[in-house]
Symmetry: C2
Subunit: 83 residues, 2 copies
């Protein structure tokens, strides 16, 4: 299950989605990745100014990784993300 993330809010949505899949609370994720629950709340809601290192830390804690490659045509998943 791999998802496209072209914007901070899509990144946030995916982090939230995968976090819930693991049955983890924001507080738990925060503790495990050395940050605060409030920050995770902001990041999940699409915080534009989140640091890339914070994102990487969260992904690592959730056993996720990001890949970078050429753009594909926009998928339906992107559209849903807007609404």
């Amino acid at each position: 299950m791999i998802q496209i993330a072209r914007s901070p809010s899509q990144v946030g949505n995916l982090i939230q989605k995968f976090r819930k899949l693991k049955g983890m609370s924001q507080t738990e994720l925060a503790e495990r990745s050395g940050m605060r629950q409030e920050l995770i709340s902001k990041i999940e809601s699409g915080h534009n100014g989140a640091k890339i290192s914070s994102i990487c830390d969260l992904l690592a804690t959730l056993d996720l990784e990001m890949t970078i490659g050429p753009r594909t045509k926009s998928s339906s998943a992107d559209i849903e993300d807007i609404f």
Copy 2:
């Protein structure tokens, strides 16, 4: 050609790599994505505090996208990245 990026420096390396593939200079990339050459220099060299929105802007300008999904086993590309 899709690459794993688990850390800010891997993200930076990939941005640099794809930028060069497009024959673009840091200055050109900076202008097109509304930021400064100095910042791109820092980001490409693994700047920890880069904003996720900056990264997304750069990827968009380079016609790239990021995807997020479960970790795969570490590839040789990761190892090289360390050195």
